[in-house]
């Protein structure tokens, strides 16, 4: 059972009418906790859709977030258009992932969602060409440090993030679904093959609905940091609710597809936590089949259940227990454990610790002058 503050937010996201009885103090906590889980726009969108009367001073915060989300969706469309133009001549498929795929695919979870960066998947053998084309189109690498560059290029599943010099938008270019050094090796070719065209936006594509769900789950359950944990789990819940009724034999197809991609273990975790924390309607028989195909051993499962059950809640003092910092740290280590073989992991964490104590450039990016942005 999540702490009461998180529990109330989760219940109201699913059943917005329950908000009608809140006192002002409870509204304050609700909005604040929603901000901690980065779902304040989604909350605003769902309350508005349900026609719940929100006190005026509270509504300002919700309307502001909904408007920002609307604007970000426009930006994502524009960014996609620019991306398509920059990469069209390469004659390769470019698959949008996560948030940008929800927007371009018009999936309901995109409404009210707040975005960080844009993720795309391109074939690995065209990475060099993609990077050159992106630079020609006005993007530049955000990580200039030689170690960071090597970390991404040799070991990870993506290039160092690129930033558009004029618009400041951040783009993550993936070439596989998981890090090269990771324990699972899903074949990205299968995702390309099943992906769907976006009319008028060639060469951009989006994953098939099943792949979209499996990739979003895989991404979340390989994360080491959970600033967007509740938002991403809410995405997964929304995707499942949206597609479960429209795809024939949805559950069997989803389980089979995860098996093909070698992603049954993350799929199990995704279904388990969506059901346990958000009450996503998943038949018990499906959960049992997912567990048979991908559940970890009982000890690991109990441990993960405890750790992730904490870390997926909003980052907010009202949701934390004494155990939360430890849980977050253990999950950070776990994410690296999944990403790298032990000798690399030891080297990497050692290097990060060293850089923490002796930074090459002692730099704090926060403004020295408080005041207007």
């Amino acid at each position: 059972m999540p702490p009461p503050a998180a529990d109330r937010l989760i219940r109201i996201l699913q059943a917005p009418h329950e908000a009608a009885r809140l006192s002002l103090g409870q509204w304050e906590q609700l909005v604040s906790v929603a901000r901690g889980g980065n779902v304040v726009g989604t909350l605003g969108e769902r309350l508005a859709l349900a026609g719940v009367a929100v006190p005026e001073n509270v509504d300002r915060h919700l309307v502001g977030a909904v408007q920002l989300s609307q604007r970000q969706r426009e930006s994502v469309r524009w960014e996609a258009h620019q991306l398509g133009r920059a990469l069209r001549h390469l004659d390769i498929p470019v698959v949008l992932l996560k948030g940008s795929a929800y927007v371009l695919g018009d999936v309901p979870v995109s409404r009210g969602r707040l975005f960080g960066d844009i993720d795309i998947l391109v074939p690995r053998d065209s990475l060099g060409d993609v990077e050159v084309a992106m630079m020609a189109g006005g993007w530049t690498s955000a990580k200039q440090n030689a170690y960071d560059q090597r970390y991404y290029r040799q070991w990870m599943h993506e290039l160092p993030p690129m930033v558009n010099v004029r618009r400041g938008t951040v783009l993550d270019i993936h070439h596989t679904l998981l890090p090269l050094t990771s324990r699972y090796h899903p074949d990205p070719q299968k995702l390309f093959a099943a992906s769907l065209e976006l009319p008028g936006l060639a060469p951009l594509r989006i994953p098939s609905p099943l792949d979209l769900i499996i990739h979003s789950i895989t991404h979340l359950f390989h994360e080491g940091e959970f600033h967007n944990g509740l938002r991403d789990l809410t995405d997964i819940d929304g995707l499942i609710r949206h597609f479960a009724d429209s795809i024939p034999d949805f559950w069997s197809a989803l389980l089979a597809r995860a098996g093909e991609l070698q992603l049954s273990p993350p799929l199990f975790l995704g279904l388990h936590f969506a059901s346990r924390l958000l009450g996503t309607p998943i038949p018990a028989a499906v959960l049992a089949r997912a567990a048979a195909a991908g559940a970890p051993g009982p000890v690991t499962f109990r441990l993960l259940d405890g750790l992730l059950g904490q870390a997926l809640l909003p980052m907010h003092p009202d949701c934390d227990s004494a155990f939360t910092p430890t849980a977050r740290w253990l999950l950070y280590v776990r994410a690296h454990w999944l990403r790298m073989p032990p000798h690399l992991l030891a080297m990497h964490l050692g290097r990060k610790a060293w850089m923490g104590v002796f930074p090459e450039v002692a730099k704090d990016s926060r403004p020295a002058e408080p005041g207007l942005p």
Binding site: G25, Q70, R71, P367, A368, L372
Partner: protein, 273 residues
């Protein structure tokens, strides 16, 4: 911090809350200003600003805790999406007819704003941040202490009715002080106003004073440049600013003294009511 509590008591008439138990209000921002811990308690003590649990700025010397609170609160209002278009500008009004003074550095915006408020009988909506509500097209007041810098401090201290708090020396902006907003402005804090005039002030040290009308298109570009969140507001913000300028006339003025500036503003408001 005690200096922040004194600041709140002097400028806002607020007393420190006696515990949180049973409070049933909605706060827009959960702000904390705390003394830095560890060695910084004794050696060059520092003040730290928190919004929720994040610390958006580097700490400042502890004796600047109160201005840190004011600057931080401005930052909160400009950076958190609240549905308002936020423009760096002073706003004053007569009744519900507002005058917008966009803030270009060195233009003398806060001095002019103080003169209009303390000498010209205008009501203060804000000295830093105009909040335009796209739905109603009205500017929402938040009359808070007026920021004064360097030479304007003595000038404003001599205005009738102006009460200044302590001076803070050696801040990044030089010496600063804050002036209390007039009581009538605070009383009317819930009454929004419609922008009828936009004035871009320039302080000129020699030559003639001048006043010329500027096109709405040019004003749009100038104000947009001074907006904190026009890009984040997208079409809503764009349309809100267009609509505001539809109903307003815009001028640039050059003035050598407070009296001249007040005279020019008066003339503008009389000739384009």
């Amino acid at each position: 911090m005690p200096s922040v509590e004194e600041h709140l008591a002097f400028f806002y008439g607020a007393r420190p809350k006696e515990g949180q138990a049973g409070h049933d209000t909605f706060a827009d921002f959960d702000i904390g200003v705390f003394t830095a811990s560890g060695i910084r308690r004794f050696w060059r003590p520092q003040a730290r600003f928190f919004l929720d649990d994040a610390e958006p700025f580097l700490p400042l010397p502890a004796d600047q805790a109160a201005p840190l609170f004011e600057w931080g609160l401005n930052w909160c209002m400009a950076s958190r999406p609240l549905g308002y278009l936020a423009v760096h500008a002073a706003v004053v009004a007569r009744g519900d007819r507002a005058l917008l003074l966009p803030g270009f550095p060195g233009a003398g915006k806060s001095t002019l704003c103080s003169s209009l408020v303390f000498l010209g009988g205008w009501r203060l909506l804000s000295d830093e941040l105009a909040l335009l509500d796209p739905a109603s097209g009205l500017i929402h007041p938040h009359p808070r202490p007026i920021n004064l810098k360097n030479r304007s401090i003595d000038l404003v201290a001599a205005f009738p009715g102006a009460a200044l708090g302590p001076r803070y020396l050696d801040t990044r902006k030089g010496t600063i002080a804050l002036a209390t907003p007039p009581a009538e402005s605070v009383k009317a804090a819930e009454d929004p106003a419609r922008c009828l005039w936009v004035v871009f002030p320039t302080f000129v040290s020699d030559g003639e004073s001048w006043c010329e009308e500027v096109s709405r298109a040019e004003s749009f570009a100038l104000i947009a440049e001074q907006s904190f969140n026009k890009d984040r507001m997208g079409e809503v913000g764009f349309k809100a600013l267009c609509a505001m300028l539809e109903g307003a006339r815009c001028f640039q003025i050059g003035y050598r003294s407070t009296e001249e500036a007040l005279g020019l503003v008066d003339q503008i408001c009389r000739e384009s009511p």
